[in-house]
Symmetry: C2
DNA sequence: TTGTAAGCGTTATCAG
DNA sequence: CTGATAACGCTTACAA
């Protein structure tokens, strides 16, 4: 039933011109008489003609496609609403520039460099990719413009975008300090990830800036998920000098921490102040609502898209990596 | 820096065979001597050869690409984690079959039929598309295999997938009834959408099956979001004979309803039992935790992918539309 | 079992 | 301003 797709030849024939003329019209050249342009456009509309992306890619050697690697780990990443919003921002940014997104789906574990070449994508966005992924090196070596999210890759054709994790962590600690807390602990995210490491760094930096005594036992590593937050909190509560405030590197861990504290008979925020990170939807809906550091997820996606287009079109965009601004959102859990 | 992409000709030359032989090897034909196959594969690996998708698409007239229309409305859809999970399921299902996803990003409002032809996608998945979208008709007429999510399109090359909304609503009502409730209200979703309409239909059907008296004033329409749930609840509470239980057609509306009830001084579930729909992440994390109808979002995505591949590869898959099973998850808000 | 050659639908170069 | 024509990289009869 699929109506036959019409080609440039038909448009040419039906409007009495050559294919090159049609091609020129469709590529916006201006050395075309207004009359023929109109005629061509008209018959094209009649035939519902759409140029073949494949043919075009073949000769122009670029596809107007941006490849997206979205590692949806067994369970973890999927649950994280983060990527969805980033994707929306990305889609918008590259859409206005006339590109479409190619989401690599084929299951070959991590063969994305080959697939990028296969489709001749003009650039690649990496999301949820592990820094240890061996494909990463291959991709960078291939010279394909690349932007990673939350992973610090750099090179002449590669860059990354991430939120201001250090600044956000400092904001959180400062907030707690202003509330009078001096025994502030942290539940860090996976330290193998850039956000995990940076948020811990920010935590330490602000402690130092505030001249608060750093204590190793006040630093616990989680995996960004709720259960790990609860586990870490239980350990913190076992300390002889337990913290009165805790900065969790994700909202989910913060929720876990709150639960663990309550199970131990503590009141949040009266006995324990908690600050999270991300400002995911549930942050405002749990009880107590979560004070947190808001990431601009849409903005991260937009920045990734624009940064990538810079690399793709403008040659290397020398613009250094600018972390995306974050914002402290005060709610109940910190008692602020 | 981008290393030149090697072509089939180079592979052919370097391994001393013709291009057609290389082509045969890569297309898995078996009329190739084991010796040459090995040789070809070896040099291909050496050159890091990846066949050109564009060239292949041009001659085979199919792209191994599935187009995805993901309407991320100004705010609403984005916030809904639903699509992310469906996308993951879809990606997996079509990935194992060797397809990739093409996410239409270009901003032309709804020109997706043209874009589908432009890229010669083998099929299209529609998500978040409005039933009134004029492009919808064009797409179906174009004869491109299409599967919609939560939108009942049908045709020789089109079908859809959705959860068992009617059954889910009935489950919810029955649960409330078993708990002793007889004054059960509903906060429906947008009735212009398939899930909204079906959940209301299920609500009514179960009421009738249970021989409960239907009351028009116990039916309120929301828009799936929290605030609309709260607003609807406030109205329900104003009735002289207020309901003792309410089935909300989304978890977000259920949360809104709970809040409104509490603001009115009612206790949930003691004074009012609430059941939601979806089982999004926050359902288990709010207080009280939400009794709800769980949708298998991943399953919806997988079903969409498999159904589409059926249409694409097997010709029209005559399999009638099977709603995806849902499940009652009992938590605190219903007092169950 | 393998090679030759004609497309697939565009764009780009070169004439006119 | 417009038309031929040679690529672009691959698949597929058709030969050998």
């Amino acid at each position: 039933m699929a109506r036959k797709i019409s080609t440039i030849h038909e448009v040419a024939r039906r409007s009495g011109v050559s294919v090159s003329t049609v091609s020129r019209v469709f590529n916006g050249y201006d050395d075309i008489s207004e009359a023929t342009r109109k005629r061509v456009l008209a018959t094209a509309r009649e035939l519902d003609y759409a140029p073949s992306a494949a043919a075009r890619t073949l000769v122009k050697r670029r596809s107007q496609l941006i490849g997206v690697v979205l590692n949806t780990g067994e369970e973890q990443d999927i649950r994280h609403p983060f990527f969805q919003e980033v994707l929306v921002g990305l889609k918008h940014a590259i859409g206005v520039a006339g590109y479409d997104l190619l989401l690599f789906a084929t299951e070959q574990p991590h063969e994305y460099t080959r697939r990028a070449r296969h489709h001749r994508v003009d650039g690649v966005v990496l999301m949820g990719v592990d820094r240890a992924d061996p494909e990463l090196r291959k991709l960078l070596e291939a010279g394909i413009p690349t932007i990673a999210v939350d992973l610090d890759v750099e090179g002449s054709h590669a860059s990354y975008v991430t939120s201001d994790n250090v600044g956000g962590a400092r904001l959180a600690v400062r907030h707690l300090h202003e509330l009078g807390h001096t025994q502030i602990a942290t539940i860090a995210g996976l330290l193998g990830t850039k956000p995990g490491a940076d948020r811990l760094a920010g935590f330490r930096a602000e402690l130092e800036a505030l001249k608060l005594k750093p204590r190793r036992e006040y630093e616990r590593e989680g995996d960004f998920n709720m259960e790990s937050g609860a586990a870490a909190m239980r350990q913190l509560l076992r300390l002889r000098k337990r913290p009165t405030a805790v900065f969790a590197a994700s909202d989910l861990m913060a929720v876990g921490a709150v639960r663990a504290a309550r199970e131990a008979g503590l009141d949040v925020p009266a006995d324990l102040a908690v600050v999270g990170f991300d400002d995911i939807q549930l942050a405002s809906l749990v009880t107590p609502s979560l004070t947190t550091i808001r990431q601009d997820k849409l903005g991260v996606g937009t920045a990734a898209g624009e940064g990538l287009l810079g690399l793709v079109e403008g040659g290397r965009s020398k613009r250094s990596v600018q972390p995306m601004p974050v914002e402290l959102v005060v709610r109940e859990s910190s008692g602020g």
